[in-house]
């Protein structure tokens, strides 16, 4: 049975913890708003990019001059996975969710006899994947120093990927990140970025994009400029979604922690009060029985 003093100490320490989690929750809420705004501000660009890309793909018509980034190498042997996670923990199952998703994917690829290479963006994903697949991780990108996520960061990652592709070190590149649905739900998503999905092509027709365009310079040339840029944009979007998702997950995790701490304080206070009462009763009995003995 802990003494009164022990209980008092424990209540104090749980209270301190509660204050910390509460503060973290509020910080996460503020950051979440900012991250959401950033994600929203970036949306017009990626939407336009998609439309333009669809349009131009149609113009080129998948002819011989389509760049390799779009058509792929024609093989499907070596897969590069870019796994984007958060830099910090304390955000519930956010990181492990992405890592688990990526791991399932890796397992499937390995079972099919493919070769897998991994680039980790974010420290947490690296820590988790290192346990099982250390030999496959070829690179990691550290964004811990980055205060506000800029396009430059995404561009650097995309450039790395494109460079590797140029060297012929992989055939298919898939991006893993967490899609931000709402504060309480983030969905791990895999998105193939090389070869670029041609799924966007029918969208152009619906868009009424059959106007006769003039291209300056040639469509093929624009396309070869556009595709790498599109990869950067996809990475950027993934990073932004991740940032928003991380903050959302952190907010709900810290909310839970605060509530748990509250419950714990209640329970401890009850025990503390009972024990104090018991001690008072005991002292009273001693006094009374002492008086009666006289």
């Amino acid at each position: 049975m802990p003494s009164l003093k022990d209980l008092r100490n424990r209540i104090a320490s749980v209270k301190a913890t509660q204050k910390i989690t509460k503060a973290m929750q509020m910080v996460a809420a503020a950051k979440l708003r900012r991250a959401q705004e950033a994600a929203e501000a970036a949306r017009p660009y990626s939407e336009r990019m998609g439309a333009v890309l669809a349009n131009i793909t149609q113009a080129v018509g998948g002819g011989g001059d389509a760049p390799a980034l779009m058509t792929g190498t024609g093989k499907d042997d070596v897969h590069l996975l870019v796994v984007c996670t958060a830099e910090r923990g304390l955000c519930g199952g956010f990181n492990s969710q992405i890592a688990r998703f990526a791991r399932d994917h890796i397992r499937r690829l390995l079972a099919d006899g493919k070769q897998v290479k991994i680039i980790c963006v974010g420290k947490k994903g690296f820590d988790i994947l290192r346990r099982d697949y250390a030999s496959m991780i070829i690179d990691r990108v550290d964004l811990r120093e980055v205060k506000t996520l800029g396009f430059v960061n995404a561009d650097a990652i995309a450039r790395k990927v494109i460079h590797l592709f140029g060297e012929g070190s992989f055939d298919v590149c898939t991006l893993f990140y967490s899609q931000f649905k709402s504060v309480i739900s983030q969905i791990p998503t895999a998105q193939q970025i090389i070869p670029a999905g041609v799924a966007s092509a029918p969208a152009a027709a619906a868009d009424g994009g059959n106007a006769v365009y003039e291209y300056e310079p040639e469509p093929g040339e624009i396309l070869s400029d556009l595709i790498p840029r599109n990869i950067s944009v996809q990475v950027f979007r993934a990073l932004l979604e991740n940032a928003a998702g991380e903050m959302g997950a952190k907010m709900s995790a810290m909310d839970n922690a605060t509530r748990n701490a509250g419950d714990m304080i209640n329970k401890l206070s009850i025990t503390y009060n009972r024990q104090r009462q018991a001690q008072i009763t005991k002292e009273l009995i001693e006094i009374i029985s002492g008086a009666e003995a006289l």
Binding site: A38, A41, A42, P44, Y45, S46, R48, M49, A51, V52, N55, I56, G150, F151, A154, A211, V212, Y213, E214, Y215, E216, P217, P219, E221, I222, D225, L226, R229, S232, V233, F236
Partner: protein, 135 residues
């Protein structure tokens, strides 16, 4: 007064301009061009340079863009810039950094094609610097 059309300047980070304008001067990869309402559909890449926007209200705004491309249709014009800032907000050190990077790129280029590309980019950047930083 010329007819107005919708112009949008978008960078990956945000939407900079979305308004009715009279004319826009775009630094196209194959020469500057002025876009006005009912322009024939054109798609062009752009080089680093200054975009001059004349709004329907008669104001003139200038933005520095670093590469990207423009999508022009009769109803409007969308400029997707890799990075864009208003001329008034340009950061000299940032520009100097970009030039430095371009210089390194040119020095590191593996083959002739990459080198000529990098050098072209570098010369575009220095021209840009000369154009906007005399003040």
């Amino acid at each position: 007064m010329a007819e107005a059309f919708q112009f949008e300047l978008v960078s990956p980070e945000r939407l900079l301009v979305s308004e009715q304008v009279e004319s826009v001067v775009i630094p196209g990869a194959e020469g500057e061009m002025t876009v006005m309402a009912h322009h024939a559909p054109v798609m062009t890449t752009i080089k680093p340079g200054v975009v001059t926007v004349k709004t329907a209200a008669g104001k003139e705004e200038r933005y520095v863009v670093f590469g990207g491309f423009a999508d022009i249709v009769p109803a409007g014009c969308t400029l997707l810039a890799e990075s864009a800032v208003a001329v008034g907000d340009i950061d000299r050190t940032d520009l100097a950094r970009r030039i430095q990077e371009a210089r390194e790129d040119a020095a590191d280029a593996k083959d002739d094609e990459a080198r000529s590309k990098a050098e072209q980019f570098l010369s575009q950047l220095t021209t840009l610097e000369g154009a906007i930083l005399p003040a």
